[in-house]
């Protein structure tokens, strides 16, 4: 369960967020939809405690992202926009490193890693050093590493960027699986199809503000548009940054 209330954030002269609020409930996939530079990444970064809001609060499972940073980080798994791996470590070692930082050890850790390797279908690359991995393979390792402690809340910043069709499909299946497990999934995207296919709840962000939010159906009703894409354009008032 993630709640965000009235988030403000400026970087120097640039105002990134001016009052973002929404809730992402458990067992649901919540999509942050918006053009590039709308504030999706900044919002996610505040939730996973890397940035502090100038005003407003964010909380995960009731823990404040500023006051209870360590507790928040324990109950989230996040795939940031930049998710580099350690090229001299194997895929398994990359995942193990983060598992150990979460305090996991021994058999419990190895079993968890095996499980993720199977789920993400990466048995073939598990023991290889990650140097030279394709972007699909790299995202898989990065996701496995973020979820190695089996967190209740999952944040994914543009998880399908740079992936081919097959990898994207696999990623969607994986995200749906997370919902079935009752997790709270919050992911950002600027790809309309993906959001309409996956999300139970959509938050449209534009220029650092929430332009509209609701289920895909309510959004269509509110804006009086036939499909979500038109609803999106109507909500943010332009076609800027839209990818079909």
């Amino acid at each position: 369960m993630i709640s965000v209330s009235n988030l403000h954030k400026t970087f120097g002269k640039v105002t990134a967020l001016k009052g973002v609020s929404f809730n992402a409930p458990d067992g649901c996939i919540t999509g942050l939809l918006g053009p590039n530079g709308a504030g999706k990444t900044t919002t996610l970064r505040i939730i996973y405690t890397i940035l502090h809001p100038d005003k407003g609060t964010a909380s995960v499972d009731g823990f404040d992202t500023v006051k209870d940073q360590l507790k928040v980080r324990k109950c989230i798994g996040a795939l940031p926009d930049s998710h580099g791996l350690y090229p001299r470590l194997t895929a398994r070692e990359n995942i193990r490193y983060f598992g150990r930082l979460h305090g996991l050890r021994g058999e419990a850790l190895e079993k968890g890693i095996d499980n993720l390797i199977r789920l993400l279908d990466m048995q073939e690359i598990a023991e290889r050093r990650t140097e030279g991995f394709s972007s699909g393979e790299r995202v898989k390792v990065a996701i496995a590493r973020a979820l190695v402690h089996n967190p209740k809340n999952v944040l994914l910043d543009e998880p399908t960027v740079g992936l081919d069709v097959m990898s994207t499909r696999a990623m969607r299946t994986f995200i749906e699986r997370l919902r079935e497990e009752g997790k709270c999934v919050l992911f950002s995207s600027h790809i309309m199809q993906e959001v309409s296919a996956l999300c139970d709840y959509v938050v449209i962000i534009s220029n650092g503000e929430v332009a509209a939010s609701g289920t895909p159906d309510t959004l269509r009703e509110k804006t009086g548009q036939e499909n979500l894409e038109d609803a999106f354009v109507a909500a943010i008032g332009s076609e800027e940054g839209l990818v079909r």
Binding site: L70, R73, D81, G84, Y86, P87, R88, F98, H102
Partner: protein
């Protein structure tokens, strides 16, 4: 606290394994490390051969242009064991080319001036930039001078004047330099070179774990883990220490082995003994500097915007603290309290004293170690502060 220690150890062991797998950097660093003792040994051998070659034993062959103009001088030189041979037509060219060490030119007017008791010109053609010719040059100079003094003295006697009145001041040179301390000039480069090693031996690890982590965009995912920033910083810091210490140990061992294998006395004419005890004292004195240097480089590598920038600045700061050591080789410095309180400079003075065979004050060792360790801790706090800033993840942009 226990889990903090655990997480720190996780970071530490990961960084060590990760960087040990970077075999190319590891080997390059070790080889570069070995260059230092090799260079020192080479200097001693080559310089020792040229400067300390004993010219007295070989006979001195001296080309003289216009020898017929000064039969007296020539006879004097021959009496002093110099073999005179006719000089070339172009003495300056010959010296410039390095074909002869020194040539004497006696102009035609010599005899006339000599008879008239005017100063008679004798030219000594030489190239003072050639260290290997210095011995020959000074020998010829002193022979010509002593001939002049001798003639002058005789002239004064002939006029009934006591030549002693010319000597208002009697200069006596008392040279306390033992041959050993002359040879030590080369070895006194050691503090300088050791400081360079300490400040560069682990640089690749420090840069890889800080600027490198950010450049391969693995920093942000790392920071999302439930670890305090100071745990990450300390883990990375401690991971670099063994690499720096190894570089230092390898250098010192190579140095000790080299000086015990190669018979240095053959080249320098003196015995230099560098015992393993001396080497281990130097090693121990250097350890606080290892802590200090690693902290300093960590801050620089964290504050820079990219991997390349980090490499530039880190190699720059490896040179700065070593500079005083370079001067120490030529200008021995007294140890004073304030000098001991300058991290790395104090230690360079102490090593210098060890190499000169002087006793060390317990106080100096203690003070320099304490101050340096405290300075290292302050640097670590600054590094942690840098990691706590939000900007840490934006470094590359």
């Amino acid at each position: 606290m226990r889990s903090s220690l655990d997480r720190m150890m996780v970071v530490l062991s990961k960084e060590i394994i990760d960087n040990l797998r970077d075999k190319r950097s590891f080997l390059t660093s070790l080889i570069t490390t070995l260059v230092t003792p090799a260079l020192l040994l080479g200097l001693v051998v080559v310089m020792g051969k040229t400067i300390f070659k004993n010219v007295d034993e070989s006979e001195l062959i001296l080309p003289v242009v216009g020898a017929e103009n000064a039969p007296g001088l020539i006879k004097y030189l021959e009496q002093n064991g110099v073999v005179i041979e006719p000089g070339p037509d172009n003495p300056q060219e010959v010296i410039k080319n390095g074909d002869e060490d020194v040539i004497i030119v006696i102009p035609e007017g010599y005899g006339e001036d000599f008879s008239a008791s005017r100063p008679a010109a004798v030219q000594i053609v030489m190239d003072t930039s050639r260290t290997s010719a210095m011995r020959t040059i000074s020998k010829v100079e002193s022979l010509v001078n002593s001939y002049g003094t001798m003639i002058g003295t005789l002239r004064l006697y002939a006029r009934g004047v006591n030549p002693m009145i010319l000597q208002a001041v009697a200069v006596e040179q008392i040279d306390v330099a033992t041959p050993e301390s002359q040879a030590m000039m080369f070895l006194n480069m050691l503090p300088f070179m050791l400081t360079i090693i300490i400040f560069s031996g682990g640089s690749y690890v420090i840069i890889d774990t800080t600027a490198g982590e950010r450049e391969r965009t693995s920093l942000e995912p790392l920071l999302i883990n439930p670890a305090n920033r100071w745990e990450l910083v300390l883990g990375k810091y401690l991971a670099a220490i063994p690499f720096v210490t190894l570089a230092l140990a390898v250098t010192l061992s190579a140095f000790a082995i080299g000086f015990n294998l190669i018979r240095v006395e053959e080249f320098l004419g003196v015995q230099i003994s560098i015992s393993w005890k001396t080497i281990s004292s130097i090693f121990l004195i250097c350890l606080p500097v290892v802590l200090f240097a690693t902290g300093l480089q960590m801050i620089v590598a964290t504050a820079t915007r990219s991997f390349k920038e980090a490499q530039t600045y880190v190699s720059l700061i490896s040179f700065l603290p070593a500079l005083p050591g370079a001067f120490l080789a030529f200008l021995p410095s007294e140890s004073e309290l304030w000098k001991m309180m300058v991290p790395s400079y104090g230690q360079q003075l102490l090593i210098d004293q060890i190499m000169r065979g002087e006793g060390l004050a317990q106080n100096d060792i203690f003070i320099s170690a304490i101050v340096t360790v405290v300075a290292a801790l302050v640097l670590l706090l600054i590094a942690v502060h840098l990691y706590k800033r939000e900007q840490i993840i934006f470094g590359t942009k």
